[in-house]
């Protein structure tokens, strides 16, 4: 199978002099090229070994593990409220959503969930959705960069700056927030936060249409992404893909719409790939699902902000959060992270320290499809496909 060919490749760690390596792996007709850990198109330390014949990529094998910090081993040595900062570093573009996933998993396991106040739930939803917009802005900007258009990247980061300012005013950090902890939210909202966020949403909404004009409906962009890297709905389910990658293939599945996700009383619709510009499930569909999801998140935040007005005064952090005793039981709980379904498997053994913590990173599961999609494509398409799957290596390697 794929790796049999790679077997003949010499052991990379062996210290041959450089020209020996050149001679050995060049005997084959094709060239083995390393889209190595340091490469602009791989969004972080992902190494894709490409077996290419001229410009055509016959086979791409991703190698991961360059950012592996074994966060799960540390989960077995610290109490849940101390583990929150580690969840920030997994998907460093969506820190709030990671904290929320782990906090809710522990709260459901220990039964603390019933005592979370309405105001905390609303604050958590506002910050999770704001972080979804920020994360989609980064993926929109870098996808333009992968295909050679520099300008969208700057616009996306200009908008993201405003969101990071909002986060900074609430919890002091811009990237690794640890704002949502077990038992609630570390600090209540600053005083004029709600109306400034409304102001930002009014400013931001017309900008998305501007992006669509600039990039989404740009003829060259469509030529580069339509009918490229097509994943059918059945393959998406079989490979365990989730989030915008799954919805791009026409599967209308969003965890926020499932019962018990806390989004019941918000009305928003879930954008799904319809194959406007090419086949269903191509790179353009995954891209346009992310861009329209930003507009949906704006709707959710507006409704949440209106509900927040009525909940002044409720306290937002539960005292028992720090002195929790985990029951001798286990739980697997997932929420809708910007990149897909982020799941936490937590198993307690009666003491305050969990027995096992496992994180199901959506990028980890989405990345395994590159091996199948990047066959017999051109070199330029490999960057387009990996960009459209929108991988964050912190979450893949944990």
């Amino acid at each position: 199978m794929a790796d049999v060919i790679l077997e003949s490749q010499p052991d990379i760690n062996a210290d041959l002099s450089s020209d020996q390596i050149q001679q050995q792996d060049l005997q084959t007709e094709e060239m083995l090229v390393n889209m190595g850990p340091q490469h602009p198109a791989t969004h972080g330390v992902l190494r894709v070994v490409l077996r290419t014949d001229g410009e055509m990529v016959l086979e791409a094998v991703p190698h991961i593990g360059y950012l592996h910090r074994c966060a799960e081993k540390i989960g077995e040595t610290v109490a849940p409220y101390q583990y929150i900062p580690y969840t920030d570093r997994m998907d460093y573009l969506a820190g709030m959503n990671n904290n929320l996933a782990f906090a809710q998993a522990v709260e459901k396991l220990t039964g603390l969930e019933a005592e979370i106040t309405e105001r905390t739930k609303l604050i958590r939803i506002v910050f999770a959705e704001l972080n979804r917009i920020a994360s989609h802005l980064v993926s929109f900007g870098t996808y333009g960069l992968d295909l050679g258009a520099f300008t969208p990247f700057l616009y996306a980061f200009r908008e993201r700056e405003y969101i990071l300012d909002l986060f900074e005013s609430a919890c002091g950090a811009r990237l690794t927030y640890s704002y949502i902890t077990v038992g609630g939210v570390t600090d209540d909202l600053p005083e004029r936060f709600v109306d400034i966020t409304r102001e930002f949403l009014d400013y931001f909404e017309p900008k998305v249409h501007e992006y669509n004009l600039l990039l989404s409906h740009n003829h060259i962009f469509i030529k580069r992404t339509a009918n490229v890297g097509v994943i059918t709905a059945q393959e998406a389910l079989d490979y365990g893909l989730s989030g915008p990658v799954l919805r791009g293939s026409g599967v209308n599945f969003d965890l926020r719409k499932q019962p018990g996700s806390g989004y019941e009383d918000f009305d928003f619709n879930v954008p799904v790939g319809q194959g406007e510009k090419g086949k269903v499930g191509d790179c353009w569909d995954r891209y346009i699902v992310r861009v329209s999801e930003m507009l949906e998140s704006v709707k959710i935040i507006r409704q949440a902000l209106d509900k927040l007005d009525g909940t002044e005064g409720q306290e937002t952090l539960h005292k028992k959060g720090k002195t929790l005793k985990l029951p001798a039981d286990e739980i697997y709980y997932e929420i809708e992270n910007p990149r897909g379904q982020l799941g936490f498997f937590v198993r307690g053994n009666g003491s305050a320290i969990p027995d096992r913590v496992k994180a199901r990173g959506p990028s980890f599961c989405n990345l395994c499809v590159t091996e199948k999609v990047c066959q017999d494509v051109l070199l330029g398409d490999v960057a387009a496909i990996i960009g459209s799957i929108d991988v964050v290596m912190g979450e893949v390697d944990r």
Partner: protein
């Protein structure tokens, strides 16, 4: 708060200061060393009061370098010593925005006037001083020259005045003019002065081009672009980059081919500059007015590919080999449509030499070839797209596409070699835009017809003579129009680069072979038929000529509208910038 110096940075002030002392002392010594040379030269040669009789030829050759050159050297070194001595003062003066502005604008006008003046001198020398071809041989160099010093000296002494167009007639009694004029009679030295003018202008292009690209990119991406280097809007950014790059580490990848690696930047950098030999700035302003100028420029742009292939090959890096291969197939395939699209204006003008083509477009902007007939209008856009591909710009910049090939053939290059590649790329861009300006937009022909100068003077009833000549010369055909048009097309290339993504390599070849090539052939064919039908000694079809006139008017109106549109949108954008970008009150965040 006070600036704290970090403890582990040992900044022993006295070690630094005596570097400066030693530098000032060294420069002062060199400056003083010039004085004996000056004294000796003036005493020995005594240029001012020498009698005409004993003035042998070879001594005259020594006067300019020894007498004038040494004074210049002394002033230069003394100035350098003063600059190091009073660097704070100079820093403060330089950082004032208006000073930077004056230097910047001064540099541009200085070069334009300098080049203009040297063209006038050359023409005068040709006209007044070399009436007859008396040939004699210079003992030292063995080059025959067509005029003896005595005849120049006699003309100068006999009071035959030399009339300069701007300054008017001058007659100087001392032979100083003879000394200055003397070297100019040799064709070799005249060429060297011509090359100096071209290199001056060419070195301005990347310096200005790179700075302008970063400012345009900034504006398009709603940021400011370089603002710090040199004060006003970072005007000295390119100079700063150039100096920085020159001091970068000179890295040559092991295992690659050292000789070719070092040679490649020069093969990419020299041909575009050679293309300027044949590119005319105005009727007389061309280094060599070849009658095959058009094909010569195309040939030069074709050779540039070889440099890129060598660079990709010699960097011993798989990504560079990819970049080189892409470059080879892209450039070779795009030369054909580009060459064909250029044939169309040649056919309408009837001559291959660029000056001839520009002369044919001299009747005001509606006679420019872009608007003359629909096929030239299409040919302009076909040519422009093909020229984008041939100098690796905007949607076609695959050879050094950052996202896939890291930096294509440029991956292993750093420091000065890297800047040579970029120097060559920007000069090639300007050559291509200059060619488009001459062939389609009437080169140095002004958009107003020749008669408009009198009409304008009559309307604004300007009496004083000097102003009238100024208006006449400005409205008439002069190099400034050529530079304006070429720079506008240069701007469009920048504009395209920062808006469009990059297309894939198979789409590049598909666009060339299946779209651009057939389109150019069709337009070429139709244009032949059209020009045949329109021209008198051809078929001379009445209805076609009428149709031609109407289409010409429509296209001219369209061109004017687009220009006004661009200016209008820019003005609108500038005036209500806040409303467009949207000012956000985030700065009043409580946490801030």
């Amino acid at each position: 708060m006070a600036s704290i110096t970090l403890p582990w940075v040992q900044r022993d002030t006295e070690k630094l200061s005596n570097y400066r002392e030693r530098a000032i002392r060294l420069l002062a010594i060199i400056a003083l060393a010039h004085i004996p040379i000056i004294l000796g030269a003036w005493l020995l040669l005594d240029p001012l009061s020498t009698k005409p009789a004993d003035l042998q030829d070879w001594k005259v050759l020594l006067v300019p370098p020894l007498c004038l050159g040494s004074i210049g050297g002394m002033l230069l070194f003394a100035g350098a010593a003063f600059a190091i001595y009073a660097y704070e003062l100079i820093g403060r003066v330089l950082s004032a925005p208006w000073v930077a502005f004056v230097i910047f604008i001064g540099a541009i006008f200085g070069i334009v006037i300098g080049v203009w003046l040297h063209a006038e001198i050359l023409m005068t020398v040709q006209r007044d001083w070399m009436p007859a071809k008396e040939t004699s041989v210079i003992p030292v160099v063995g080059i025959e020259y067509d005029h003896t010093v005595q005849s120049i000296y006699q003309n100068n002494l006999a009071g035959k005045s030399v009339d300069f167009p701007l300054i008017g007639a001058i007659s100087i009694d001392t032979p100083i003019l003879a000394y200055l004029m003397f070297p100019l009679q040799f064709p070799l030295i005249r060429d060297l002065v011509g090359v100096g003018g071209i290199i001056g202008f060419i070195s301005l292009i990347p310096g200005f081009g790179i700075w302008w690209e970063r400012k345009v990119a900034g504006r398009i991406q709603s940021r400011m672009g370089p603002m710090r280097a040199g004060g006003w809007h970072g005007w000295a950014q390119s100079a700063a980059d150039g100096i920085k790059l020159a001091f970068k580490e000179d890295y040559v990848p092991p295992g690659g081919d050292g000789l070719l690696f070092r040679l490649a930047p020069y093969i990419t950098f020299i041909p575009p500059i050679c293309a300027f030999i044949a590119l005319p700035f105005a009727t007389a302003w061309v280094f060599r007015d070849l009658d095959v100028a058009l094909i010569f420029i195309l040939a030069m742009l074709g050779i540039e590919v070889m440099g890129v292939i060598l660079a990709g090959w010699a960097s011993n890096n798989k990504w560079s080999v990819y970049g080189a291969m892409r470059e080879a197939c892209q450039m070779v395939s795009y030369e054909i449509p580009m060459g064909m699209a250029l044939l169309i204006p040649v056919m309408t003008a009837g001559s291959l030499s660029l000056t001839g083509i520009a002369e044919a477009q001299s009747g005001g902007f509606w006679t420019w070839f872009v608007f003359v007939n629909p096929w030239c209008f299409l040919a302009f856009f076909l040519y422009y797209v093909a020229s984008l591909a041939s100098c690796k710009r905007a949607p076609f910049d695959l050879p050094e596409s950052e996202s896939e090939l890291v930096a294509g053939f440029l991956t292993e290059y750093s420091g000065f070699r890297w800047s040579m590649f970029f120097f060559g790329e920007y000069v090639a861009m300007y050559v291509v835009c200059g060619l488009a300006a001459i062939l389609f937009l009437g080169g140095w022909m002004s958009p107003f017809p020749a008669s408009s100068a009198e009409w304008f003077i009559a309307q604004a009833n300007i009496e004083n003579g000097m102003l009238q000549t100024l208006v006449k010369s400005l409205l008439a055909a002069n190099p400034i129009w050529f530079i304006l048009k070429a720079t506008f097309l240069f701007f469009v290339q920048l504009w395209i680069r920062w808006t469009l993504p990059r297309i894939r390599i198979d789409q590049v070849l598909y666009a060339c072979v299946q779209v651009l090539l057939p389109a150019t052939m069709v337009v070429l064919l139709c244009n032949t038929v059209w020009t045949l039908g329109v021209s008198e000694n051809g078929l001379n079809l009445g209805w076609l000529i009428a149709l031609d006139g109407i289409i010409n008017k429509i296209l001219a109106a369209a061109g004017l509208l687009t220009l006004l549109g661009i200016v209008g949108i820019a003005a609108y954008g500038y005036r209500n910038n806040k409303k467009l970008v949207g000012w956000l009150a985030v700065d009043q965040l409580p946490g801030k």
